[in-house]
Protein backbone atom coordinates (compact mmCIF):
# COMPACT_ATOMS: atom_id res chain seq x y z
CA UNK A 1 0.00 0.00 0.00
CA UNK A 2 1.39 3.40 -0.83
CA UNK A 3 1.22 6.37 1.49
CA UNK A 4 -1.81 7.84 -0.22
CA UNK A 5 -4.09 4.82 0.13
CA UNK A 6 -2.86 4.25 3.66
CA UNK A 7 -3.77 7.79 4.57
CA UNK A 8 -7.19 7.35 2.95
CA UNK A 9 -7.99 4.29 5.06
CA UNK A 10 -6.56 5.93 8.15
CA UNK A 11 -8.79 8.94 7.66
CA UNK A 12 -11.81 6.75 6.99
CA UNK A 13 -11.37 4.84 10.25
CA UNK A 14 -10.76 8.11 12.12
CA UNK A 15 -13.93 9.70 10.83
CA UNK A 16 -15.96 6.56 11.55
CA UNK A 17 -14.83 6.40 15.17
CA UNK A 18 -15.27 10.13 15.73
CA UNK A 19 -18.68 10.10 14.05
CA UNK A 20 -19.83 7.32 16.35
CA UNK A 21 -19.12 9.50 19.40
CA UNK A 22 -20.66 12.51 17.64
CA UNK A 23 -23.80 10.49 16.96
CA UNK A 24 -24.23 9.52 20.61
CA UNK A 25 -24.09 13.17 21.70
CA UNK A 26 -26.06 14.52 18.76
CA UNK A 27 -28.65 11.76 19.09
CA UNK A 28 -29.38 12.68 22.68
CA UNK A 29 -29.57 16.41 21.96
CA UNK A 30 -31.80 16.01 18.93
CA UNK A 31 -34.05 13.59 20.77
CA UNK A 32 -34.60 16.02 23.67
CA UNK A 33 -35.27 18.82 21.22
CA UNK A 34 -37.97 17.03 19.24
CA UNK A 35 -39.47 15.37 22.32
CA UNK A 36 -40.05 18.84 23.73
CA UNK A 37 -42.56 19.35 20.90
CA UNK A 38 -44.55 16.17 21.59
CA UNK A 39 -47.48 15.78 23.94
CA UNK A 40 -47.60 13.25 26.74
CA UNK A 41 -49.69 10.72 24.82
CA UNK A 42 -47.25 10.72 21.93
CA UNK A 43 -44.32 10.31 24.29
CA UNK A 44 -45.99 7.36 26.01
CA UNK A 45 -46.87 5.69 22.71
CA UNK A 46 -43.33 5.85 21.40
CA UNK A 47 -40.72 8.00 23.13
CA UNK A 48 -38.41 7.83 20.11
CA UNK A 49 -40.73 8.75 17.23
CA UNK A 50 -40.65 12.18 15.62
CA UNK A 51 -43.46 14.55 16.58
CA UNK A 52 -46.42 14.43 14.20
CA UNK A 53 -47.21 18.06 14.78
CA UNK A 54 -45.20 20.66 16.61
CA UNK A 55 -46.68 21.63 19.97
CA UNK A 56 -45.39 24.73 21.72
CA UNK A 57 -47.60 24.15 24.79
CA UNK A 58 -44.80 22.29 26.54
CA UNK A 59 -42.71 25.43 26.63
CA UNK A 60 -45.61 27.45 27.99
CA UNK A 61 -46.32 24.95 30.74
CA UNK A 62 -42.64 24.49 31.57
CA UNK A 63 -42.13 28.23 31.81
CA UNK A 64 -45.22 29.06 33.88
CA UNK A 65 -46.91 26.00 35.45
CA UNK A 66 -43.68 24.18 36.15
CA UNK A 67 -42.22 27.45 37.45
CA UNK A 68 -39.13 27.43 35.25
CA UNK A 69 -39.44 31.23 34.99
CA UNK A 70 -38.96 31.62 38.73
CA UNK A 71 -36.13 29.06 38.84
CA UNK A 72 -34.50 30.74 35.87
CA UNK A 73 -34.56 34.17 37.54
CA UNK A 74 -33.25 32.75 40.82
CA UNK A 75 -30.36 31.16 38.99
CA UNK A 76 -29.59 34.35 37.09
CA UNK A 77 -29.47 36.36 40.33
CA UNK A 78 -27.53 33.77 42.32
CA UNK A 79 -25.11 32.64 39.62
CA UNK A 80 -24.23 36.10 38.32
CA UNK A 81 -23.75 37.57 41.80
CA UNK A 82 -21.56 34.62 42.78
CA UNK A 83 -19.51 34.89 39.59
CA UNK A 84 -18.97 38.59 40.17
CA UNK A 85 -17.91 38.17 43.79
CA UNK A 86 -15.65 35.18 43.24
CA UNK A 87 -14.09 36.78 40.15
CA UNK A 88 -13.30 40.08 41.86
CA UNK A 89 -11.96 38.51 45.05
CA UNK A 90 -9.95 35.80 43.29
CA UNK A 91 -8.41 38.35 40.90
CA UNK A 92 -7.34 40.49 43.86
CA UNK A 93 -5.84 37.49 45.65
CA UNK A 94 -4.11 36.26 42.50
CA UNK A 95 -2.70 39.73 41.90
CA UNK A 96 -1.16 39.73 45.38
CA UNK A 97 0.13 36.16 45.01
CA UNK A 98 1.77 36.72 41.63
CA UNK A 99 2.98 40.34 41.99
CA UNK A 100 4.00 40.94 45.59
CA UNK A 101 6.59 39.35 47.81
CA UNK A 102 5.36 38.78 51.35
CA UNK A 103 5.71 36.31 54.15
CA UNK A 104 3.58 33.23 53.66
CA UNK A 105 3.03 33.80 49.94
CA UNK A 106 4.08 30.27 48.97
CA UNK A 107 2.10 28.67 51.78
CA UNK A 108 -1.02 30.60 50.82
CA UNK A 109 -0.63 29.67 47.15
CA UNK A 110 -0.27 26.01 48.08
CA UNK A 111 -3.25 26.20 50.42
CA UNK A 112 -5.50 27.44 47.61
CA UNK A 113 -4.26 24.81 45.17
CA UNK A 114 -4.67 22.11 47.80
CA UNK A 115 -8.24 23.33 48.43
CA UNK A 116 -9.24 22.21 44.93
CA UNK A 117 -8.90 18.61 46.05
CA UNK A 118 -11.30 18.98 49.00
CA UNK A 119 -14.56 17.16 48.14
CA UNK A 120 -17.57 19.49 48.35
CA UNK A 121 -19.33 16.95 50.57
CA UNK A 122 -16.77 17.58 53.26
CA UNK A 123 -17.91 21.19 53.60
CA UNK A 124 -21.62 20.39 53.40
CA UNK A 125 -22.37 19.62 57.05
CA UNK A 126 -20.16 22.26 58.71
CA UNK A 127 -21.47 24.87 56.28
CA UNK A 128 -25.00 23.81 57.11
CA UNK A 129 -24.45 24.50 60.80
CA UNK A 130 -22.44 27.65 60.06
CA UNK A 131 -25.24 29.10 57.93
CA UNK A 132 -27.87 28.02 60.43
CA UNK A 133 -26.04 29.94 63.16
CA UNK A 134 -26.12 33.17 61.18
CA UNK A 135 -29.63 32.62 59.83
CA UNK A 136 -28.64 32.28 56.20
CA UNK A 137 -30.29 28.91 55.52
CA UNK A 138 -32.92 29.28 52.83
CA UNK A 139 -31.70 32.61 51.59
CA UNK A 140 -30.31 33.61 48.22
CA UNK A 141 -27.57 35.61 49.91
CA UNK A 142 -26.38 32.56 51.86
CA UNK A 143 -26.10 30.47 48.71
CA UNK A 144 -24.30 33.31 46.92
CA UNK A 145 -21.69 33.46 49.69
CA UNK A 146 -21.24 29.68 49.63
CA UNK A 147 -20.84 29.57 45.85
CA UNK A 148 -18.42 32.52 45.85
CA UNK A 149 -16.27 30.95 48.56
CA UNK A 150 -16.28 27.42 47.18
CA UNK A 151 -15.26 28.50 43.69
CA UNK A 152 -12.51 30.81 44.96
CA UNK A 153 -9.64 28.25 44.94
CA UNK A 154 -10.39 27.02 41.42
CA UNK A 155 -10.72 30.59 40.12
CA UNK A 156 -7.36 31.50 41.65
CA UNK A 157 -5.81 28.36 40.15
CA UNK A 158 -6.90 29.26 36.62
CA UNK A 159 -6.17 32.99 36.98
CA UNK A 160 -2.60 32.35 38.17
CA UNK A 161 -1.66 31.15 34.68
CA UNK A 162 -2.96 34.37 33.15
CA UNK A 163 -1.48 36.75 35.72
CA UNK A 164 1.93 35.15 35.33
CA UNK A 165 1.98 35.97 31.61
CA UNK A 166 1.86 39.74 32.32
CA UNK A 167 5.48 40.99 32.24
CA UNK A 168 6.83 42.70 35.35
CA UNK A 169 8.23 45.58 33.25
CA UNK A 170 4.71 46.92 32.87
CA UNK A 171 4.45 47.47 36.61
CA UNK A 172 7.82 49.21 36.70
CA UNK A 173 6.84 51.74 34.08
CA UNK A 174 3.49 52.26 35.80
CA UNK A 175 5.26 53.00 39.08
CA UNK A 176 7.54 55.49 37.30
CA UNK A 177 4.42 57.27 36.13
CA UNK A 178 3.26 57.46 39.73
CA UNK A 179 0.50 54.89 39.46
CA UNK A 180 -0.85 53.59 42.79
CA UNK A 181 -1.21 49.88 43.50
CA UNK A 182 -4.99 49.71 43.37
CA UNK A 183 -5.17 51.81 40.23
CA UNK A 184 -2.55 49.56 38.68
CA UNK A 185 -4.69 46.54 39.49
CA UNK A 186 -7.90 47.94 38.04
CA UNK A 187 -6.51 49.92 35.11
CA UNK A 188 -3.56 47.78 33.98
CA UNK A 189 -3.79 44.21 35.30
CA UNK A 190 -7.52 43.64 34.87
CA UNK A 191 -7.55 44.65 31.18
CA UNK A 192 -4.47 42.53 30.51
CA UNK A 193 -5.89 39.37 32.04
CA UNK A 194 -9.35 39.88 30.58
CA UNK A 195 -9.31 36.57 28.63
CA UNK A 196 -8.55 34.79 31.89
CA UNK A 197 -11.41 36.52 33.67
CA UNK A 198 -13.81 35.52 30.90
CA UNK A 199 -12.52 31.96 31.04
CA UNK A 200 -13.08 31.72 34.80
CA UNK A 201 -16.49 33.36 34.44
CA UNK A 202 -17.52 30.75 31.86
CA UNK A 203 -16.22 27.86 33.94
CA UNK A 204 -17.95 29.12 37.05
CA UNK A 205 -21.13 29.82 35.14
CA UNK A 206 -21.32 26.26 33.85
CA UNK A 207 -20.51 24.76 37.24
CA UNK A 208 -22.89 26.98 39.24
CA UNK A 209 -25.71 26.89 36.69
CA UNK A 210 -25.68 23.09 36.83
CA UNK A 211 -24.94 22.62 40.53
CA UNK A 212 -27.79 21.40 42.71
CA UNK A 213 -26.39 19.61 45.75
CA UNK A 214 -25.46 22.78 47.65
CA UNK A 215 -28.66 24.49 46.50
CA UNK A 216 -30.67 21.53 47.77
CA UNK A 217 -29.17 21.83 51.25
CA UNK A 218 -28.95 25.61 51.59
CA UNK A 219 -31.88 26.99 49.59
CA UNK A 220 -34.49 24.31 48.96
CA UNK A 221 -37.64 26.42 49.47
CA UNK A 222 -39.73 26.44 46.30
CA UNK A 223 -39.44 30.20 45.70
CA UNK A 224 -35.65 30.12 46.10
CA UNK A 225 -34.89 27.13 43.90
CA UNK A 226 -32.22 27.47 41.26
CA UNK A 227 -32.82 26.09 37.79
CA UNK A 228 -30.77 22.97 38.36
CA UNK A 229 -32.50 22.19 41.64
CA UNK A 230 -35.82 22.95 39.94
CA UNK A 231 -34.93 20.46 37.23
CA UNK A 232 -34.10 17.85 39.83
CA UNK A 233 -37.36 18.52 41.67
CA UNK A 234 -39.33 18.35 38.42
CA UNK A 235 -37.87 14.99 37.56
CA UNK A 236 -38.68 13.86 41.06
CA UNK A 237 -42.31 14.97 40.78
CA UNK A 238 -42.73 13.09 37.48
CA UNK A 239 -43.47 10.00 39.54
CA UNK A 240 -46.73 11.59 40.69
CA UNK A 241 -47.86 13.82 37.86
CA UNK A 242 -46.20 13.18 34.57
CA UNK A 243 -45.72 15.88 32.01
CA UNK A 244 -42.70 14.56 30.18
CA UNK A 245 -43.10 16.95 27.27
CA UNK A 246 -42.89 19.83 29.72
CA UNK A 247 -39.84 18.30 31.32
CA UNK A 248 -38.06 18.08 27.96
CA UNK A 249 -38.99 21.68 27.23
CA UNK A 250 -37.57 22.62 30.63
CA UNK A 251 -34.30 20.87 29.74
CA UNK A 252 -34.08 22.90 26.53
CA UNK A 253 -34.82 26.14 28.41
CA UNK A 254 -32.08 25.27 30.86
CA UNK A 255 -29.66 24.47 28.05
CA UNK A 256 -30.11 27.71 26.10
CA UNK A 257 -27.87 29.96 28.24
CA UNK A 258 -25.11 27.32 28.32
CA UNK A 259 -25.34 26.85 24.57
CA UNK A 260 -25.14 30.60 23.91
CA UNK A 261 -22.13 30.92 26.18
CA UNK A 262 -20.53 27.85 24.63
CA UNK A 263 -20.93 29.20 21.11
CA UNK A 264 -19.70 32.71 21.87
CA UNK A 265 -17.02 32.25 24.52
CA UNK A 266 -15.59 28.74 24.10
CA UNK A 267 -12.28 29.98 22.71
CA UNK A 268 -11.56 31.57 26.09
CA UNK A 269 -12.29 28.26 27.82
CA UNK A 270 -9.82 26.44 25.61
CA UNK A 271 -7.22 29.15 26.11
CA UNK A 272 -7.80 29.01 29.86
CA UNK A 273 -7.37 25.27 30.01
CA UNK A 274 -4.10 25.65 28.14
CA UNK A 275 -2.72 28.37 30.39
CA UNK A 276 -4.13 27.58 33.79
CA UNK A 277 -4.44 23.86 34.10
CA UNK A 278 -1.55 22.78 31.93
CA UNK A 279 1.07 25.18 33.19
CA UNK A 280 -0.29 25.30 36.76
Amino acid sequence: MNTKTRRFWGNLVSYLLLSFWTLIILGILVWVLYSSFKDNVAIYQDPWSLPEKIIWDNYVSAWSTMKMSSYFMNSIIIVFSSIFISLLLSAMITHALTRYEFKGRRALTNLFIFSISVPTQMLLIPLYSQLMNVGLINSRFGLILVYSALWLPFSIFVLMGFFRTVPHEIEESAIMDGCGEFRMFFNIMIPMVQPGLICVAVFNFVAMWNEYMLAMVFASKQNLRTISLGMYALRDSMMYSSNWGGLFAAIIIMLIPSAIIFLTLQKYVIQGLTLGAVKG
Partner: protein
Protein backbone atom coordinates in the same frame (compact mmCIF):
# COMPACT_ATOMS: atom_id res chain seq x y z
CA UNK B 1 10.74 38.88 40.72
CA UNK B 2 7.77 39.89 42.83
CA UNK B 3 7.89 43.33 44.39
CA UNK B 4 7.94 44.22 48.06
CA UNK B 5 5.18 46.67 48.94
CA UNK B 6 3.72 48.04 52.15
CA UNK B 7 1.99 45.31 54.17
CA UNK B 8 -1.34 47.12 54.20
CA UNK B 9 -1.44 47.01 50.39
CA UNK B 10 -0.93 43.24 50.34
CA UNK B 11 -3.54 42.92 53.05
CA UNK B 12 -5.93 45.13 51.11
CA UNK B 13 -5.79 42.73 48.19
CA UNK B 14 -5.92 39.54 50.23
CA UNK B 15 -8.30 40.32 53.06
CA UNK B 16 -11.75 40.41 51.42
CA UNK B 17 -11.27 37.10 49.65
CA UNK B 18 -9.42 35.55 52.53
CA UNK B 19 -12.23 36.35 55.00
CA UNK B 20 -14.75 34.67 52.71
CA UNK B 21 -12.45 31.71 52.17
CA UNK B 22 -11.64 31.24 55.84
CA UNK B 23 -15.23 31.47 57.03
CA UNK B 24 -16.90 29.41 54.31
CA UNK B 25 -14.11 27.02 53.33
CA UNK B 26 -11.20 26.70 55.72
CA UNK B 27 -13.04 26.61 59.05
CA UNK B 28 -15.74 24.21 57.71
CA UNK B 29 -12.96 21.99 56.36
CA UNK B 30 -11.35 21.71 59.80
CA UNK B 31 -14.71 21.49 61.57
CA UNK B 32 -15.54 18.51 59.41
CA UNK B 33 -12.83 16.47 61.11
CA UNK B 34 -14.31 17.32 64.49
CA UNK B 35 -17.93 16.58 63.48
CA UNK B 36 -16.79 13.23 62.09
CA UNK B 37 -15.90 12.26 65.66
CA UNK B 38 -19.29 13.18 67.10
CA UNK B 39 -22.84 11.97 67.09
CA UNK B 40 -25.12 14.77 65.96
CA UNK B 41 -28.63 14.98 64.56
CA UNK B 42 -28.32 18.60 63.49
CA UNK B 43 -31.29 19.94 65.46
CA UNK B 44 -30.20 19.75 69.05
CA UNK B 45 -27.12 21.89 69.41
CA UNK B 46 -25.48 19.01 71.23
CA UNK B 47 -22.69 17.22 69.45
CA UNK B 48 -21.70 14.17 71.51
CA UNK B 49 -18.02 13.34 71.17
CA UNK B 50 -17.63 9.63 70.41
CA UNK B 51 -14.05 9.45 69.17
CA UNK B 52 -13.49 7.21 66.18
CA UNK B 53 -16.73 5.26 66.61
CA UNK B 54 -18.18 6.55 63.31
CA UNK B 55 -15.18 5.18 61.49
CA UNK B 56 -15.31 1.81 63.20
CA UNK B 57 -19.04 1.65 62.44
CA UNK B 58 -18.19 1.83 58.75
CA UNK B 59 -16.40 -1.50 58.95
CA UNK B 60 -19.68 -3.26 59.73
CA UNK B 61 -21.88 -1.11 57.47
CA UNK B 62 -22.47 -3.19 54.35
CA UNK B 63 -24.01 -0.24 52.46
CA UNK B 64 -20.90 1.79 53.13
CA UNK B 65 -18.75 -1.00 51.74
CA UNK B 66 -20.86 -1.14 48.59
CA UNK B 67 -20.53 2.63 48.15
CA UNK B 68 -16.78 2.49 48.75
CA UNK B 69 -16.22 -0.35 46.29
CA UNK B 70 -18.48 1.34 43.71
CA UNK B 71 -16.47 4.55 44.03
CA UNK B 72 -13.24 2.62 43.45
CA UNK B 73 -14.71 0.78 40.45
CA UNK B 74 -15.89 4.11 39.11
CA UNK B 75 -12.47 5.66 39.53
CA UNK B 76 -10.52 2.78 37.97
CA UNK B 77 -12.84 1.35 35.31
CA UNK B 78 -14.27 4.76 34.44
CA UNK B 79 -10.78 6.23 34.39
CA UNK B 80 -9.48 3.54 32.04
CA UNK B 81 -12.46 4.01 29.72
CA UNK B 82 -12.35 7.83 29.74
CA UNK B 83 -8.60 8.00 29.17
CA UNK B 84 -8.61 5.24 26.58
CA UNK B 85 -11.17 7.20 24.54
CA UNK B 86 -9.42 10.50 25.22
CA UNK B 87 -6.02 9.19 24.09
CA UNK B 88 -7.56 7.47 21.07
CA UNK B 89 -9.28 10.69 20.01
CA UNK B 90 -6.15 12.73 20.69
CA UNK B 91 -4.32 10.42 18.30
CA UNK B 92 -7.02 10.54 15.64
CA UNK B 93 -7.38 14.32 15.78
CA UNK B 94 -3.65 15.08 15.64
CA UNK B 95 -2.82 12.74 12.76
CA UNK B 96 -0.97 14.44 9.94
CA UNK B 97 -3.37 16.12 7.55
CA UNK B 98 -6.52 15.44 9.59
CA UNK B 99 -9.28 17.98 9.00
CA UNK B 100 -12.07 18.90 11.41
CA UNK B 101 -10.14 18.76 14.66
CA UNK B 102 -11.70 21.94 15.98
CA UNK B 103 -15.24 20.84 15.18
CA UNK B 104 -14.91 17.45 16.88
CA UNK B 105 -13.09 18.65 19.98
CA UNK B 106 -15.52 21.51 20.55
CA UNK B 107 -18.53 19.32 19.96
CA UNK B 108 -17.28 16.63 22.31
CA UNK B 109 -16.82 19.29 24.98
CA UNK B 110 -20.46 20.36 24.82
CA UNK B 111 -22.00 17.58 27.01
CA UNK B 112 -19.74 18.85 29.77
CA UNK B 113 -21.88 21.98 29.84
CA UNK B 114 -25.21 20.18 30.25
CA UNK B 115 -26.65 19.88 33.75
CA UNK B 116 -26.23 16.45 35.30
CA UNK B 117 -29.77 16.72 36.64
CA UNK B 118 -31.05 17.02 33.07
CA UNK B 119 -28.75 14.30 31.77
CA UNK B 120 -30.04 11.93 34.44
CA UNK B 121 -33.52 12.20 32.90
CA UNK B 122 -32.16 11.36 29.46
CA UNK B 123 -30.04 8.43 30.52
CA UNK B 124 -32.89 6.90 32.50
CA UNK B 125 -34.88 7.01 29.25
CA UNK B 126 -32.03 5.51 27.26
CA UNK B 127 -31.57 2.61 29.68
CA UNK B 128 -35.28 2.01 30.34
CA UNK B 129 -35.91 -1.74 30.05
CA UNK B 130 -39.30 -1.43 28.28
CA UNK B 131 -39.00 1.40 25.81
CA UNK B 132 -35.36 2.50 26.24
CA UNK B 133 -33.44 3.21 23.06
CA UNK B 134 -30.57 0.94 24.01
CA UNK B 135 -32.76 -2.15 24.14
CA UNK B 136 -34.52 -1.01 20.96
CA UNK B 137 -31.22 -0.74 19.12
CA UNK B 138 -30.14 -4.17 20.35
CA UNK B 139 -33.43 -5.60 19.14
CA UNK B 140 -32.98 -3.98 15.74
CA UNK B 141 -29.47 -5.43 15.51
CA UNK B 142 -30.79 -8.89 16.35
CA UNK B 143 -28.92 -9.01 19.65
CA UNK B 144 -32.02 -9.94 21.67
CA UNK B 145 -30.00 -11.92 24.19
CA UNK B 146 -28.18 -8.73 25.22
CA UNK B 147 -31.40 -6.98 26.20
CA UNK B 148 -31.70 -6.44 29.92
CA UNK B 149 -32.75 -4.18 32.76
CA UNK B 150 -29.67 -2.01 32.49
CA UNK B 151 -30.03 -0.19 35.77
CA UNK B 152 -31.39 -3.27 37.54
CA UNK B 153 -28.25 -5.05 38.63
CA UNK B 154 -25.10 -3.69 40.15
CA UNK B 155 -22.80 -4.77 37.31
CA UNK B 156 -24.77 -3.41 34.38
CA UNK B 157 -25.93 -0.44 36.44
CA UNK B 158 -22.38 0.66 37.21
CA UNK B 159 -21.37 0.05 33.61
CA UNK B 160 -24.28 2.14 32.36
CA UNK B 161 -23.47 5.04 34.68
CA UNK B 162 -19.78 4.87 33.81
CA UNK B 163 -20.61 5.08 30.13
CA UNK B 164 -22.98 8.02 30.70
CA UNK B 165 -20.27 9.75 32.72
CA UNK B 166 -17.64 9.26 30.06
CA UNK B 167 -19.88 10.83 27.42
CA UNK B 168 -19.96 13.94 29.62
CA UNK B 169 -16.30 14.16 30.50
CA UNK B 170 -14.20 12.83 27.60
CA UNK B 171 -14.48 16.21 25.86
CA UNK B 172 -12.98 18.04 28.81
CA UNK B 173 -9.89 15.85 29.03
CA UNK B 174 -9.60 15.78 25.25
CA UNK B 175 -9.29 19.57 25.14
CA UNK B 176 -6.67 19.44 27.89
CA UNK B 177 -4.67 16.88 25.91
CA UNK B 178 -5.00 18.75 22.62
CA UNK B 179 -3.82 21.96 24.22
CA UNK B 180 -0.82 19.98 25.44
CA UNK B 181 -0.20 18.76 21.89
CA UNK B 182 -0.14 22.36 20.66
CA UNK B 183 2.84 23.07 22.86
CA UNK B 184 4.93 20.37 21.23
CA UNK B 185 6.96 21.92 18.39
CA UNK B 186 6.06 20.51 14.97
CA UNK B 187 9.74 20.00 14.17
CA UNK B 188 9.87 16.90 16.41
CA UNK B 189 7.23 15.06 14.50
CA UNK B 190 8.37 16.30 11.12
CA UNK B 191 11.86 15.03 11.79
CA UNK B 192 10.43 11.62 12.69
CA UNK B 193 8.25 11.66 9.57
CA UNK B 194 11.27 12.36 7.37
CA UNK B 195 12.97 9.40 9.03
CA UNK B 196 10.03 7.33 7.82
CA UNK B 197 8.22 6.77 11.13
CA UNK B 198 4.52 5.92 10.87
CA UNK B 199 1.81 8.01 12.52
CA UNK B 200 1.19 5.47 15.28
CA UNK B 201 4.88 5.22 16.10
CA UNK B 202 5.18 8.99 16.20
CA UNK B 203 2.23 9.24 18.55
CA UNK B 204 3.43 6.64 21.03
CA UNK B 205 7.13 7.42 20.83
CA UNK B 206 7.04 11.22 20.65
CA UNK B 207 3.66 12.82 21.30
CA UNK B 208 2.41 10.75 24.23
CA UNK B 209 5.65 10.86 26.28
CA UNK B 210 5.67 14.64 25.87
CA UNK B 211 2.05 14.78 27.04
CA UNK B 212 2.97 13.13 30.31
CA UNK B 213 2.55 16.29 32.39
CA UNK B 214 -0.87 17.01 30.92
CA UNK B 215 -1.89 13.41 31.46
CA UNK B 216 -0.81 13.53 35.11
CA UNK B 217 -2.88 16.67 35.68
CA UNK B 218 -5.86 15.18 33.84
CA UNK B 219 -5.81 11.97 35.85
CA UNK B 220 -5.44 13.95 39.08
CA UNK B 221 -8.49 16.04 38.15
CA UNK B 222 -10.38 12.85 37.26
CA UNK B 223 -9.67 11.35 40.68
CA UNK B 224 -10.67 14.55 42.49
CA UNK B 225 -13.89 14.88 40.51
CA UNK B 226 -14.98 11.26 40.53
CA UNK B 227 -14.59 10.76 44.27
CA UNK B 228 -16.99 13.64 44.95
CA UNK B 229 -19.25 12.67 42.01
CA UNK B 230 -22.83 13.07 43.06
CA UNK B 231 -25.25 14.84 40.82
CA UNK B 232 -25.89 12.40 37.98
CA UNK B 233 -26.23 9.36 40.22
CA UNK B 234 -28.36 11.13 42.81
CA UNK B 235 -30.71 12.51 40.16
CA UNK B 236 -31.05 9.02 38.67
CA UNK B 237 -31.82 7.08 41.86
CA UNK B 238 -32.06 9.60 44.68
CA UNK B 239 -29.92 7.31 46.81
CA UNK B 240 -32.73 4.74 46.91
CA UNK B 241 -30.80 2.19 44.88
CA UNK B 242 -28.20 1.27 47.48
CA UNK B 243 -26.44 -1.13 45.13
CA UNK B 244 -25.50 1.82 42.93
CA UNK B 245 -24.54 4.32 45.62
CA UNK B 246 -21.13 5.93 45.58
CA UNK B 247 -19.54 7.59 48.59
CA UNK B 248 -20.85 10.96 47.40
CA UNK B 249 -24.48 9.85 47.30
CA UNK B 250 -24.23 7.62 50.37
CA UNK B 251 -22.78 10.49 52.39
CA UNK B 252 -25.70 12.67 51.34
CA UNK B 253 -28.26 9.97 52.08
CA UNK B 254 -26.86 9.43 55.58
CA UNK B 255 -26.69 13.16 56.34
CA UNK B 256 -29.85 14.55 54.83
CA UNK B 257 -31.94 11.47 54.12
CA UNK B 258 -33.41 9.83 51.04
CA UNK B 259 -37.16 10.16 51.40
CA UNK B 260 -37.40 10.53 55.16
CA UNK B 261 -34.70 12.50 56.97
CA UNK B 262 -32.00 10.43 58.64
CA UNK B 263 -29.75 13.24 59.88
CA UNK B 264 -26.82 11.15 61.00
CA UNK B 265 -24.62 14.17 60.46
CA UNK B 266 -21.67 12.85 62.43
CA UNK B 267 -21.61 9.67 60.36
CA UNK B 268 -22.06 11.68 57.17
CA UNK B 269 -19.11 13.88 58.08
CA UNK B 270 -17.04 10.76 58.77
CA UNK B 271 -17.83 9.46 55.27
CA UNK B 272 -16.80 12.80 53.78
CA UNK B 273 -13.51 12.60 55.67
CA UNK B 274 -12.94 9.16 54.12
CA UNK B 275 -13.61 10.71 50.71
CA UNK B 276 -11.06 13.41 51.43
CA UNK B 277 -8.47 10.84 52.50
CA UNK B 278 -9.11 8.85 49.30
CA UNK B 279 -8.43 11.98 47.23
CA UNK B 280 -5.23 12.62 49.16
CA UNK B 281 -4.06 9.00 48.81
CA UNK B 282 -4.97 8.48 45.15
CA UNK B 283 -4.45 11.93 43.64
CA UNK B 284 -1.46 12.66 45.85
CA UNK B 285 0.04 9.22 45.38
CA UNK B 286 -0.45 9.35 41.65
CA UNK B 287 1.30 12.71 41.41
CA UNK B 288 4.12 11.49 43.65
CA UNK B 289 4.80 8.54 41.38
CA UNK B 290 4.38 10.19 38.00
CA UNK B 291 5.09 13.87 38.49
CA UNK B 292 8.50 15.22 37.72
CA UNK B 293 10.10 18.42 36.61
CA UNK B 294 8.39 19.94 33.58
CA UNK B 295 9.92 18.53 30.44
CA UNK B 296 11.89 20.84 28.22
CA UNK B 297 11.05 21.09 24.60
Amino acid sequence: MNRKVKPWIVLGFLLPGLLLYVYFFFIPMLESFYISMTEWDGFSGEKTFIGLKNFSDMLTDSNFKIALVNTMIFMVVGGVLVFFITILFTYLLTRDGFRGRKFFSNFFYFPNMISQAALAVLWVFVYNPNFGILNNILKALGLESWIQVWLGSRETGLGSIIFATSVSFVGFYLILMLSGCDRIPDTYREAARIDGAGEITIFFKITLPLLRDVLVISVTLWVINIIKYFELIWAMFKGANTALNTLGTYMYAMSFGVATPIFKLGYGAAISVVMFLLVVVFAGGFRLIFDREGMQY
